[in-house]
Amino acid sequence: MEKTKITASLKKYTMVIALILVVAFFYWSTEGKILYAQNLNNLISQNAYVFVLATGMLLCILTGGNIDLSVGSVVCFVGGIGAVIMDKDMNCWLAVIVMLVVGLLVGMFQGFWIAYVKVPPFIATLAGMYAFRGLSNVVLQGYTVSVSDITFLNVFGGGADCYVPDFLGGENLNMTCLAAGILIAAVYILMTVRGRIRKKTKGYATEPFAGEMIKTVLVSVIILWLFYKLANYKGIPSALIWIAVVLLAYAYITSKTTMGRYLYAVGGNEKATRLSGVNTKKVYFFAYANMGLLSGLAGILTIARATSAQPTYGQGYEMDAIAACFIGGASAYGGVGSVMGMVVGATLMGVINQGMSIMGMEANYQKVVKGLVLLIAIIFDVMSKKEKK
């Protein structure tokens, strides 16, 4: 009994364990450089777009393994529009709103064909991938447009000074960052305890006490450690705030709301969901329109990080997002997957990327390794499912 429990939890946390092993490997092979404060900081800032896009992609994948190939082009298109607006010295918040609205409109446009006209998502978004890449070139007229609006860069994490200012005025340590870390860990622990008490009093099944305690302690330690590290450097990168907002919002949407429930149900059995009185077309439309909105946000983060917009930006972003979801345990048939899983998947890809860069591995081989990691993750998934039968 104990043994089966352990193997079950091992299976549940396979990717977390894989992540720990990968970090350990790079810690060893880069002589600890991978965990330098600056590298952790870069890991977050560089991968902000992956987290945001993978969140949107997860919703599409949940509806039945459907993917959106156009996100890379949409990121570039939206970014281009924003850069041009700011280049004309208009208000940066206007640019932000325009970018989000354009992203949403693009998503609604594609979602309409997919949901209401039944164009297969692969084809509808492949068309989008070509079209919006072309339009990005048109918007930017083939040139690089630089972004220099300071407010914009600070808020969305570009340039050198894109950190949450230290209100508490620490000297060597960024006190705001440290305080934030402590606060987050405290809230996390409080919520876990409260949830457990609530479940107990209502007589629901709870996770084994030891397991949940180990998990809570580990997660809290990691949070504290991460913020301590960041405090040692320049504090909280502003990109982290955007990542956190998106992840928390969508973790909530997918697990607690009716729309979240419908996403899973449609992916699990579309016909049954339709006969249960759910407007399944609306569910598809929501997934793709939302993908557009998040592509808009990713576009903002991308041009802020690069402080410019170029017609080649965003290439391959869709693949990073898709890979993060699948590595994070989303099913290629839909109906299975979670935001937390996706976060682990995206982090795993990010760590591998960065580790290889620090090791000075050639870019071409880096791609080979990434491909193999994706393949191995899926093989693992398929094998573990087979065993169950």
Binding site: Y204, G268, A272, S276, G277, V278
Partner: protein
């Protein structure tokens, strides 16, 4: 006594944690039709999988003696070489390939890397003739109906030089006419000396074709009866299958008051969604009262499911005309959501395909059709959800470790209960149950009948669609008979007998 062709001796097969077969013995004589009957999960299919080599030699205990020698099959090909061919329950044909291509798939004619198409089609035509199919072997499989597809499967088996043909529920997807034709074909083959094993749920088929009957229960062979020497009644077979005498297969309904008309359909006509010139429901009028169980009996393809689904928020068909009155008020239901809001529920016949999300737990399936009632501002109250699921689990006595269990892991009977729970939770006034006991065993059937009785006792109306005559007769207050898209008769349950119902269908003329 005829020669024994096949003998399976003391076969025991264990899966991790389950003993699927326990000392099974089966003896089949040359030239006989041997029926294998038993409840779902009794082990019939496992036994046949052992025989055909799907479970290779060494993974089971016991011996297979075929034609006097002990066989050690490692794969299906091995058993097929000996002439043992299984036709599985689900048709395994590729729709976009021709009949001929399908028949020789994996058994291609000609040289190693070059298929001889002339030979393929000539051979195929030869075997099609043997099964009495006039279709050319170049026709695509998707162009022919399921009845003919089943014949193609048999022709395919013959092309493998079958000596022992095993048919696993061969008529489960066929209508009455096609079933009869298939059974007659089996009798014809018997005359030519073929040996056959038929696995079936339908006892009338057993009575029609079988020479011997072996009953399997809980992984063991209970008994073998020889129909040629003794008279065997259906009740006798059922008794063997369930291990007890079912004196009453249908629970009694007492003191249920039948009230006003709850749902009324008038002149309901529906056309096929893909072939809009084809009428699938033709001017149907019917009603159901409060506290009443109305049975709709008809053969497959009579238009029963189409009628039900078109009523349930137009979820099937085009060009729907006619009026629908619920509780005396005329309503137009444009989609399932409106149907649910108007207290109508449709429990599908296809629980895996149209009913449940198998990858999700019981609690999520239970609440899916009425999520709004447990959520506030589109946010789900998970406590309430758990309570609701738990309540229905206890009420319907669903067997499961907890409501967090994925529905895909449950048995058919328990899945059906979850499906019922889901629709009961929408608090309907009228429930349309489409084949509510299909593919579940006798014990679970009884429990479903009890649930139906509870529903009408609470003043609901139940429309029960079924193609099992005893069930319709045993459960209904009133019976509509449907054939070829029309209602061809209406009977009070007290007056109805199997003969009268069948006569009604036959009188209405042979349906297309």
């Amino acid at each position: 006594m005829a020669k024994v062709l096949l003998e399976m001796k003391n076969i025991t097969k264990t899966f991790p944690g389950v003993k699927a077969l326990d000392n099974v013995n089966l003896k089949v004589e040359e030239g006989e039709i041997h029926a294998l009957v038993g409840e779902n999960g009794a082990g019939k299919s496992t036994l046949m999988n052992v025989l055909s080599g799907i479970y290779p030699y060494g993974t089971y205990e016991g011996d297979i003696v075929y034609n006097g020698e002990i066989c050690k099959f490692n794969k299906i090909k091995d058993s097929e070489e000996k002439g043992i061919v299984i036709i599985h329950q689900e048709l395994a044909l590729v729709p976009y390939m021709s009949i001929g291509e399908n028949m020789f798939l994996g058994n291609e004619q000609g040289k190693k890397n070059a298929i001889d198409w002339d030979k393929t089609y000539a051979e195929a035509d030869k075997y099609l003739k043997m099964v009495g199919l006039s279709e050319s072997s170049k026709v695509l499989v998707k162009e022919i109906g399921t009845g003919k597809q089943q014949l193609v499967e048999i022709a395919k088996a013959l092309a493998k030089h079958a000596k022992l043909l095993i048919l696993d529920e061969p008529t489960s997807s066929l209508n009455e006419t096609d079933s009869k034709a298939l059974l007659d074909l089996m009798l014809e083959f018997k005359k030519q000396g073929m040996t056959m094993i038929i696995i079936t749920h339908k006892l009338n088929e057993v009575a029609y074709v079988a020479d011997k009957i072996t009953v399997v229960r809980d992984g063991s062979t209970i008994e073998t009866m020889d129909k040629r020497t003794t008279e065997i009644s259906e009740d006798r077979i059922i008794q063997g299958m369930v291990g007890r005498e079912l004196t009453n297969r249908f629970p009694k309904r007492e003191n249920v008051k039948i009230g006003d008309v709850n749902m009324e359909v008038k002149d309901w006509t529906v056309y096929h969604p893909l072939y809009p010139e084809r009428k699938v429901v033709d001017h149907v009028s019917m009603n159901v009262r409060k506290g009443e169980v109305v049975g709709i009996y008809g053969l497959m393809g009579a238009g029963r499911t189409e009628l039900a689904m078109s009523i349930f928020g137009q979820s099937y068909g085009t060009g729907i005309t006619g009026t629908l009155k619920l509780n005396g008020k005329e309503v137009t239901l444009k989609n399932p959501k409106e149907a649910i809001r108007n207290k109508l529920a449709y429990v599908t016949e296809d629980r895996k395909g149209n009913g449940l999300v198998l990858t999700n737990p019981i609690k999520i399936n239970t609440t899916l059709a009425n999520l709004d009632s447990i959520s506030k501002n589109k946010v789900i109250d998970k406590d309430k959800e758990y309570q609701v699921a738990e309540e229905y689990r206890q009420k319907l006595r669903t067997k499961c470790p907890s409501v967090e269990q994925n529905v895909g892991n449950l048995s058919g009977g328990n899945q059906q209960k979850v499906l019922l729970a889901k629709w009961m939770f929408t608090e309907p006034d009228v429930l349309i149950l489409d084949e509510p006991t299909r593919g579940i065993d006798v014990g679970a059937k009884y429990e479903i009948y009890c649930i139906i009785n509870d529903l009408v006792a609470a003043g609901k109306s139940v429309v029960m669609i079924s193609s099992e005559l005893p069930e319709v007769l045993g459960m209904s207050d009133r019976i509509y008979i449907m054939n070829a898209a029309k209602i061809v008769g209406e009977l009070d349950a007290q007056d109805a007998t199997q003969e009268i119902i069948m006569a009604n269908i036959l009188k209405s003329g042979k349906g297309e």
